[in-house]
C-alpha cells in the first residue's frame, strides 16, 4: 500500500523539482471557454458545511476512511 503513496509523492515532487510545473503547455480549454465549469452549480464544494456533516455521519458508520474530499480527522467519538 505505502509503496504507491511513496511512488505517487515522489512523482509529484519530481514534477515540481524538474520545473514541469512551469512548462508553458498550451491549454486545450482556453480560459474564456471555462464559463460552464466556473458556474457555481458545478462546484462539488457548493455547500461545504453540508459536506462536512455528510463526511462525519459516514465516518462513524462505515469502516472506510480517507479520500473523502474533506480533511477528516476521525469521528472524535466512542
Amino acid at each position: 500500500m505505502n509503496k504507491y503513496i511513496v511512488k505517487g509523492t515522489l512523482l509529484l515532487a519530481l514534477i515540481n523539482l524538474t520545473g514541469c510545473a512551469s512548462l508553458s503547455i498550451e491549454p486545450w480549454v482556453k480560459p474564456y471557454e471555462r464559463q460552464n465549469l466556473a458556474d457555481p452549480i458545478m462546484s462539488a464544494s457548493r455547500h461545504p458545511i453540508a459536506n462536512m456533516h455528510v463526511a462525519h455521519v459516514l465516518d462513524g458508520r462505515e469502516a472506510a476512511r480517507g479520500a473523502e474530499g474533506t480533511e477528516g480527522g476521525g469521528c472524535g467519538c466512542n
Binding site: M1, N2, Y4, I5, V6, G8, T9, L10, L12, A13, I15, N16, L17, C20, A21, S22, L23, S24, I25, E26, P27, W28, V29, P31, R34, N36, L37, D39, I41, M42, A44, S45, R46, H47, P48, I49, A50, M52, H53, V54, H56, V57, L58, G60, R61, E62, A63, A64, R65, G66, A67, E68, G69, E71, G72, G73, G74, G76, C77, N78
Partner: protein, 409 residues
C-alpha cells in the same frame, strides 16, 4: 595508483553508512512518508513562479442545524462555518459543531443501557495564496466526556499547465485520548497520521475529473472501550457469554477516489465518484455516488443524490465466537462487519431576495434530506427471536437532515 584502493574503500564505507541509515529510516514508514511530503511541499513552494494567480474561495458564513435519526440513535445540533479574508491573500476559517447524542442502539441495548452525551468540535484554519499556490493550515479539537481528540492538517495545492491541472497534497496528525465513563482509572491513547494527494484536471469545456488518494495510519488503543463480543457458553442458561473486544494496536488503510463533474447542455450538473478502500484489517470497501444539481429559474436549485456503499468484514470480526478468547483479536462492531447501505438524497436551495439579506450581501437557505438503508450480512440482532446464532440479520434505516443558511459577503 596506491591511493585508488583507499578511495574505493572510502566510497564503500560511505555507501555502507548511507545504506544502514536508510534501512533505519525505512523501518519508520510514517517518517519516510512525512519526509517525502515535506520534500514535495518544499518543491512546490520553490516552483511557484507563474503569473495568473489561483483564487481563494468565497467569503461566507454558514449556519446549520443537523439531525440524524435511525437505529435507536438520535443525534442533532448546530454548526457554524466562517470563511473571511484577512488580506487579499489570506483567508481565515472557523468552524464549530455540536452533536447532542441520545443512544439506544442495538449494541447498547444488548449489553448496557441507553445514554445521552454531547460532543463539541472546533476548528480554526488559515489559507495563504501565493501566485498559483494555496497553502492551508487547520487545527481541530473534539471533546466529549470520554473522548478528546486534537489534530493538525497541512495542505498545499497548485494550479499548473495553463491552469488546466491542479495538484494538491496534504498531511494530518491527530492525537486522541480515550476514557471510559464510570471508570476514572481508564485512560488510553491513539495517534493518527494521514497523507493525501490529488490531481484535478479540466478535460473539456464541460468536464472535469479528479483523482484523490489518501493513506491513514492509526496506532494505539483503537477499540471502543464499552463494546463487547459474544461467544457460545453452554454453562449459563442464556447460552451466550460476553467479553470485551480486543483490536490490534495498528491499522493502516489506503483509499482511492475517482470523481467527475459534467456540465449538461441545459445548465445542470452531473456528479460521479467511485472510491475504493482497503486496510490492514482486511476490510475492503467501495462506494459509488451519482449526483445531479438542477437550477430552476434564478432562485431555486434542486439536488438529487444516489449512493451505494459496501464493505467486507475485518479478519477478526465474528457475530458469535465459538468460545471465550477464541482468537487473539476479537470484534463484534457492526461497522467492521460485512454490510452495505444505500442512500437516496434530495436537497433544495433558495436564494433569498435582497429584502431578506443583510445589506448588499447575497444569502440563501438550503434543506437536504438523506435516507440511508443499512443491511448487515453477518451481524444478528441479539434481541430477536430464533435462539443464539440464529436470530434474524440486523438492518435499519436512518433519516439525515441538514437545514442551513448561507450568507456571502
Amino acid at each position: 595508483m596506491v591511493g585508488k584502493p583507499r578511495v574505493v574503500l572510502k566510497v564503500l564505507k560511505v555507501v555502507v553508512v548511507v545504506v544502514t541509515k536508510l534501512k533505519n529510516i525505512l523501518r519508520k514508514k510514517i517518517a519516510v512518508l512525512f519526509a517525502l511530503k515535506l520534500v514535495a511541499t518544499f518543491s512546490l513552494l520553490l516552483s511557484t513562479g507563474l503569473s495568473q494567480a489561483a483564487v481563494l474561495g468565497e467569503e461566507r458564513l454558514d449556519v446549520l442545524y443537523h439531525s440524524y435519526e435511525g437505529g435507536g440513535m438520535k443525534i442533532d445540533g448546530p454548526a457554524i462555518l466562517l470563511r473571511k479574508k484577512a488580506t487579499e491573500s489570506v483567508v481565515v476559517t472557523a468552524y464549530y459543531y455540536l452533536d447532542s447524542i441520545s443512544s439506544a442502539s442495538v449494541d447498547v441495548l444488548s449489553t448496557a443501557s441507553a445514554y445521552t452525551e454531547e460532543r463539541n468540535e472546533g476548528q480554526v484554519g488559515i489559507e495563504y495564496l501565493h501566485d498559483k499556490t494555496i497553502m492551508s493550515l487547520n487545527l481541530r479539537q473534539s471533546d466529549e466526556d470520554d473522548y478528546f481528540a486534537q489534530s493538525i492538517s497541512l495542505n498545499v495545492s497548485q494550479d499548473m499547465f495553463g491552469d488546466l491541472t491542479n495538484l494538491s497534497m496534504g498531511f494530518s496528525y491527530g492525537d486522541n485520548e480515550i476514557r471510559r465513563n464510570g471508570d476514572e482509572n481508564f485512560v488510553e491513547e491513539s495517534e493518527q497520521y494521514r497523507i493525501r494527494a490529488g490531481i484535478n484536471q479540466i478535460l473539456t469545456r464541460n468536464l472535469t475529473a479528479s483523482l484523490s488518494i489518501e493513506a491513514v495510519a492509526d496506532e494505539g488503543y483503537l477499540n471502543n472501550p464499552y463494546r463487547t463480543v459474544r461467544y457460545i457458553d453452554n454453562s449459563i442458561p442464556s447460552g451466550v457469554g460476553y467479553q470485551s473486544e480486543i483490536y490490534p494496536a495498528t491499522r493502516n488503510s489506503f483509499a482511492t477516489k475517482l470523481s467527475a463533474s459534467y456540465y449538461l447542455p441545459y445548465r445542470a450538473a452531473l456528479f460521479f465518484h467511485f472510491r475504493y478502500f482497503s486496510d490492514s484489517w482486511e476490510i475492503k470497501s467501495n462506494d459509488v455516488e451519482l449526483g445531479y444539481r438542477h437550477p430552476i429559474g434564478d432562485t431555486f436549485e434542486l439536488e438529487l443524490k444516489l449512493r451505494y456503499y459496501q464493505q467486507s468484514e475485518a479478519k477478526f470480526y465474528s457475530d458469535l465466537f465459538p468460545y471465550k478468547n477464541a482468537q487473539n483479536y476479537l470484534a463484534r462492531d457492526k461497522e467492521l462487519s460485512d454490510f452495505n447501505n444505500l442512500t437516496i438524497g434530495i436537497g433544495a436551495t433558495y436564494s433569498l431576495p435582497n429584502s431578506l439579506s443583510f445589506g448588499s450581501s447575497r444569502s440563501e437557505v438550503s434543506l437536504q434530506w438523506d435516507y440511508i438503508d443499512f443491511n448487515y450480512n453477518n451481524f444478528r440482532d441479539p434481541m430477536a427471536e430464533g435462539g443464539v446464532g440464529n436470530e434474524s440479520l440486523y438492518g435499519f434505516s436512518a433519516n439525515v437532515i441538514r437545514a442551513f443558511y448561507s450568507v456571502y459577503f
